[in-house]
Structure formats: structure tokens, C-alpha cells
């Protein structure tokens, strides 16, 4: 312990004399926060972490069906994510040109009839995207695809019922009251029977989810809206923290270059204290960067961390793991120049396979089953996302311990590799 303290004090003194490298490394964290800020804009402060996406709907159909759609879009839930206006086509195009809205969804004339009658033509919705707001339009496109899936499912399963409903409601003013009520109640009964028979196939995940969250007594959190911004943020933090750890580990290469690592080795056979001393510094730098990222995310973009204490502990454990991992990479590479390219590939690879950019669910099955679950980056990213969006009573503790164990394990292997390389007269 005395030795690790001595090594750390020396490194801190060196940092004080020449703070530029460390400031640069911590600056990466600031840049990350700034880049996300630029991408999502100041609007991110409001709502669920990401501002409602401004879009227009051009209803050229003006049917009963699209009126229903208008009502559902005006709901409070939908408004959390989409700021929707109903405009005519010309006005909507003007707003796109002025970069005031992200996308325009056009419901063409005759859409409802074509949809309900199941005819081949006239069932296409039109999406006009604003090229200046690529991220938002991508989200709108995803949303529209989800809506189409829903509409297709409705058409296939309840097509006849929907047509009957349209007939009832369109003819309600002319028909006598009792026959309308009779028809409506018959349709309701049929619909209920169909839903009941399909319930087992449609809803089992919801049933099991509810029961598990209720048993933990966290009903309030279970109802929280999904926080897309913090979801993206956790993934990016996972990658950038590893990059910062890698950059901070460069100190080991310098020690090797200046001959101080060999001198240390000539005084102490074992290099574990040396590697641990470096690790402490790397953990300190990455932890400061993490604070900047997560607190910056909270202050600038309105991310409300549901469990800040738990997120902090998991992040600290991840910093330990990252420091161990990068010192292991350094011990394998030996020299800074030799390490540059493989380091970038390893870090980017770990990040991509861990769901930084895309969800692991979107990765090939083999990677989902046999690669991602074994990566520390995936443990961290998944845990932070889950802590933010679901309840994790105890799992985060196990993951934090696992991350720390792996960090120290990596450090041990790193020290052994350094020592073996020196003993063999290798490039250290």
C-alpha cells in the first residue's frame, strides 16, 4: 500500500507540473456532452430527456378513421414525444423548407376506405423528411413503421369488425337507436372474444413484468416513460469512458520509454504495485470524466437519473474494469505506437458489440448469445440503462462487484505480462 501511495503521489505531482495531457483526456468528456448537446439541441431539456419531435400531419382523407387518428395523436402520452400539427400540404412543405418541423406524414385521400376494404391501391402513407434533422426524422420513420405494423395487424385480425364499426358510426344518425345499440354490442362481444382468444399470444410478457415489479413495491417507477436520451447517453458513456481510460493509460508507455519501468523492475521483482498505482490514476481520471458526463447530462439536457447513487457505483466499478483492461492491452502491445490501431479497434469493437450504438437485440444471434453477454462494456451499459428505465433491486450490486473483480484480474495479468516481457528482454 505504501508503494502504491508513493507511485500515485509521484504521478499526481507529474500531473500538477504538466496538466495538459490530463486536461485533454477530461476534455473528451466535455466534448462528448457538447456533441450530444449539439445533436439534440436545447430542446432536450424538456420532456422525457429528449424534446418532442415537431412534425405535421396532412390529412387529405378526412374520414372518420383519420378523425380517430387525430384524437389519439392529440393525447397527452403522444404529446410527450411528438409535437404534432395538422396542416395542409402546401403549408407543411413551407414549414419543412423553413426547418421548423422534422417531418410531414401525409394520409392520402381514400386511405381509410382502402385500408378497411383491404384494396391493393391507395393504402400507402407518405412521409416527407426534413434532411436537416436526420436524427429526428429517423425516429419519426421508426415510429411510422411501428404504426404501420399496428395497422396491418388490426386490418388482418379485425378487418371485418372495423368495417362494421365504420358502417354503424357513419349511419348512426339515420338508423334507429335500438338497432344501432344492438349491432354495436354484438360487435363489442365479438371483438372481446377475439381478443380473449389471442390474449395468451399477445400479452404474456406484460403479465410477468407486472407481477415482478409489484413484488418489489416499485409500482411508481414501473409506469415511467422510456427515456430515449439517457438510453443513448449510457451507451456513448460506456464507449467514451473506455477511450479516456485508454488515453490515461499512456502513462505506462511513457514509463517504459523513459526506462523508469525497467528501473522499478530492477528494484522490485513484481510489477503489480506499479500497475495498480497507474490504475488508481486512470480510475481517478475516468471517474472525473464520468462525473462531467453524467452530471453534465443531467444539468444540460435534463436527464433525471432515477438512481444516481447506484449509477455512480456501477460507473466507478466500470472505471476500475476499464483501467485494468487498458493496462492489459498496454502490456500486450508494449509500445504506444504499436498499440494505437489495435486499441482503437478493440475499444470500438467492444462498444459496438455491447450495444453502444445499436441495441444488442439488433445484433446477429450468435453475438447476442455468445459474445455480448460476456463483455464488461455490455454489463455496464445494460445496467445503467436498466437502472434508468426499470427497477434493478440487487442485480447492479453483482455487476459492480463483477466489474471490479475483472478490473483487478486484468491488472494482475497485465503485471505478469510486463514482468515476463522484461525477463525475456522484450520491448518494454
Amino acid at each position: 500500500m505504501h508503494l502504491i501511495r508513493t507511485l500515485l503521489a509521484k504521478d499526481l505531482r507529474r500531473v500538477r507540473r504538466n496538466p495538459i495531457p490530463i486536461i485533454t483526456q477530461i476534455g473528451i468528456a466535455l466534448i462528448l456532452v457538447a456533441v450530444i448537446g449539439l445533436a439534440f439541441g436545447e430542446q432536450a431539456k424538456s420532456g422525457s430527456g429528449m424534446a418532442p419531435i415537431k412534425m405535421a400531419i396532412v390529412d387529405e382523407d378526412e374520414s372518420f378513421f383519420t378523425e380517430l387518428l387525430q384524437n389519439s395523436i392529440s393525447s397527452k402520452k403522444f404529446a410527450e414525444y411528438f409535437d404534432t400539427e395538422f396542416l395542409d400540404r402546401a403549408e407543411a412543405m413551407e414549414r419543412v423548407d423553413a426547418n421548423e418541423i422534422s417531418a410531414v406524414a401525409v394520409i392520402p385521400d381514400g386511405f381509410s376506405d382502402a385500408f378497411l376494404d383491404g384494396s391493393e391501391s391507395g393504402r400507402n402513407l407518405e412521409l416527407i423528411k426534413n434532411p436537416a434533422q436526420s436524427i429526428y426524422t429517423a425516429i419519426v420513420e421508426e415510429g411510422l413503421e411501428a404504426l404501420l405494423t399496428l395497422l396491418n395487424a388490426l386490418s388482418r385480425n379485425f378487418g371485418e369488425e372495423l368495417r362494421n364499426w365504420r358502417d354503424i358510426l357513419e349511419e348512426a344518425e339515420e338508423a334507429d337507436f335500438f338497432s344501432t345499440v344492438f349491432l354495436a354490442s354484438k360487435l363489442l362481444g365479438d371483438a372481446r372474444e377475439q381478443i380473449e382468444s389471442a390474449r395468451d399470444y399477445l400479452t404474456p410478457p406484460l403479465v410477468s413484468f407486472e407481477s415482478s415489479t409489484r413484488s418489489d413495491g416499485t409500482e411508481e417507477e414501473a409506469g415511467k416513460p422510456f427515456d430515449l436520451f439517457s438510453y443513448l447517453f449510457a451507451g456513448m458513456a460506456g464507449m467514451f469512458l473506455l477511450m479516456i481510460a485508454n488515453s490515461s493509460t499512456n502513462g505506462i508507455y511513457r514509463e517504459s520509454q523513459f526506462g523508469t519501468l525497467r528501473r522499478f523492475s530492477s528494484m522490485h521483482g513484481r510489477l503489480l504495485p506499479f500497475v495498480l498505482g497507474k490504475m488508481v490514476l486512470v480510475v481517478a481520471v475516468t471517474s472525473i470524466s464520468a462525473v462531467i458526463m453524467f452530471v453534465g447530462g443531467a444539468l444540460l439536457f435534463g436527464i433525471e437519473w432515477i438512481s444516481p447513487g447506484k449509477v455512480a457505483i456501477v460507473t466507478l466499478a466500470y472505471c476500475v474494469c476499464g483501467a485494468g483492461l487498458t493496462s492489459l492491452i498496454a502490456s500486450i502491445a508494449g509500445k504506444e505506437k504499436r498499440a494505437d490501431t489495435p486499441n482503437t479497434i478493440i475499444i470500438m469493437g467492444l462498444a459496438l458489440l455491447s450495444g453502444t450504438m445499436v441495441q444488442t437485440d439488433a445484433l446477429p444471434g450468435f453475438i447476442q448469445d455468445y459474445v455480448s453477454p460476456y463483455l464488461p462494456t455490455e454489463w455496464f451499459i445494460r445496467t445503467v440503462r436498466d437502472l434508468q428505465n426499470f427497477d434493478m433491486a440487487t442485480e447492479w450490486v453483482g455487476i459492480s462487484i463483477r466489474l471490479c473483480i475483472f478490473g483487478f484480474l486484468f491488472a494482475g495479468v497485465s503485471a505478469t505480462l510486463f514482468h515476463r516481457k522484461i525477463l525475456k528482454g522484450g520491448a518494454v
Partner: protein
């Protein structure tokens, strides 16, 4: 009892034999010089002695104990002055000394006291609080030497400690080292400067291609050779040995 006892040391790097059947010993207060051209195996031998490399064969005894049976104690008994400077440029001379002293196991106060003492001995008291980056080459060499002396080792290993410095700075360093030997420190010193070996060393081992070619005091070497002058021939001009009057090695390019 010898302070350092090297017996039939052998080290290979792949197909290259770096050190072959090297044996010698260093006694307390003795100044032993390992003399040879670049690439002769001097640095490899020093690295083997201080545990930076593990020998393929042979043994290294330090103060009567096999090095690899108790490496911790062996490390404590010796100090290494590497050929290349191993210092932190951002730190001051004093901070470098104190740091390496603490790494060697000194307490904070002991490291402070010893650093003050060494700065004085090395005539660097007035520059002790300057960053190493502001030092001249000779001053850096002196601090590099001082770092190895912080824990008062019984055996000092010096790997060409005067490379690249001016004659006056070299004389200062060599006088200082001679003083250490007079105080009882055993010294293993590698050099390719023949005049240094002649003026400083009690005994000399001449090494090339990883083998000790001749070993002994100046008088022994004279007797072994039987003449005042010896001619050694190397096929490569870069390996030409240096000439010297008295015990004279004359270079002649084949």
C-alpha cells in the same frame, strides 16, 4: 566471501547467444570493470545480475545467497545505474531522489535526509529544486547515479554511466564512484573506454561476443598476455578495440 558471484552464466535470445559461460566475482570495496565493445554482452550481463533478465543457465550469488532463491533481499542489496537515463523530467532532482528512495523502501524522512546528503555529495545542492528537464547532461547523469544510491546498496551496478557527457563531468562522476568503492561498496562497472577501466578498476574482465576473453588485475592481464602490447583484430571496423599504452590494446582493421 564475495559480494557477487557469477558462475557460468548463459543467455540466448532466439538463435543469438548474448552471454556464454560468463563467470566472475566482485568483492566488497572492489571496483570490477567489464570492458568490451558495443554489443559485447555487457548490458545483458548487468541485466542478468540485477534480475531484469533470467539466465538460461548458470547462477548468480549475491552476498552468499542465490539471487533467484531470494530476489527481494538481492534487490535490496544492489543498486542499478542504467545506461539510459531513467528519470522523471517533470520532477525536480530532489523529488526524483526521494521517489526512488521510497520505492527502495526508505521512509519519508529517511528519503528526505538521504536526498539532501546525496545532492551535496553530487554537488547539486543549489539545483536540487529545479526540474530535471532544466538540467545539463552531466547533471542528469549525476542524479541518475544518485537514485541508485538512495538505499545505500552494498553492490552498485553501473552500466556505462558516463556515456555522452563532457570530460570534466565524467571525471566528477568517476571520482565519486571511486570514493564509494573506497567506502566498501562493491562495484560492477561496464565501459568501452579503456582509459576509464585502467584508471579506476581493481580488476578487469574483457568481454566480447558474450564471452569473457581475459580477466584479472592489470598485472594479471599483463602476465597472461606476456607482453606490454596486445593486438586484437576484428573483422568489422565498428568493433575495433581501443589502443592503450602500458597494457596496450591496438586496433587493427582486418
Amino acid at each position: 566471501m564475495s559480494l557477487l558471484n557469477i558462475d557460468k552464466l548463459r543467455k540466448r535470445f532466439g538463435e543469438t547467444v548474448a552471454v556464454e559461460d560468463v563467470s566472475f566475482n566482485v568483492n566488497p570495496g572492489e571496483f570490477y570493470g567489464l570492458l568490451g565493445p558495443n554489443g559485447a554482452g555487457k548490458t545483458t550481463t548487468i541485466s542478468l545480475v540485477c534480475g531484469l533478465l533470467k539466465p538460461d543457465e548458470g547462477s548468480i550469488g549475491v552476498d552468499g545467497t542465490d539471487f533467484w532463491s531470494n530476489p527481494k533481499e538481492s534487490h535490496r542489496l544492489m543498486g542499478l545505474v542504467p545506461q539510459d537515463l531513467a528519470l522523471y523530467e517533470e520532477l525536480t532532482g530532489r523529488e526524483n531522489l526521494e521517489f526512488w528512495g521510497k520505492v527502495a523502501g526508505l521512509s519519508r524522512n529517511d528519503a528526505k535526509e538521504r536526498a539532501t546528503e546525496l545532492l551535496e555529495s553530487l554537488t547539486l545542492s543549489d539545483r536540487g529544486n529545479d526540474a530535471i528537464s532544466k538540467y545539463s547532461g552531466g547533471m542528469k547523469r549525476r542524479i541518475n547515479l544518485g537514485c541508485a544510491l538512495m538505499h545505500r546498496p552494498k553492490l552498485l551496478l553501473l552500466d556505462e554511466p558516463t556515456v555522452g557527457i563532457d570530460p570534466q563531468a565524467r571525471m566528477n562522476i568517476l571520482d565519486f564512484i571511486r570514493g564509494l568503492a573506497n567506502d566498501g561498496t562493491g562495484i560492477l562497472y561496464t565501459t568501452h573506454y579503456l582509459e576509464e577501466a585502467e584508471s579506476l578498476c581493481d580488476r578487469i574482465g574483457i568481454i566480447d561476443h558474450g564471452k569473457i576473453l581475459a580477466e584479472g588485475t592489470l598485472a594479471d592481464l599483463r602476465n597472461q598476455i606476456g607482453h606490454d602490447q596486445l593486438s586484437l583484430c576484428w573483422k568489422e571496423s565498428s568493433r575495433a578495440l581501443i589502443g592503450l599504452n602500458g597494457l596496450a590494446f591496438k586496433s587493427r582493421f582486418a
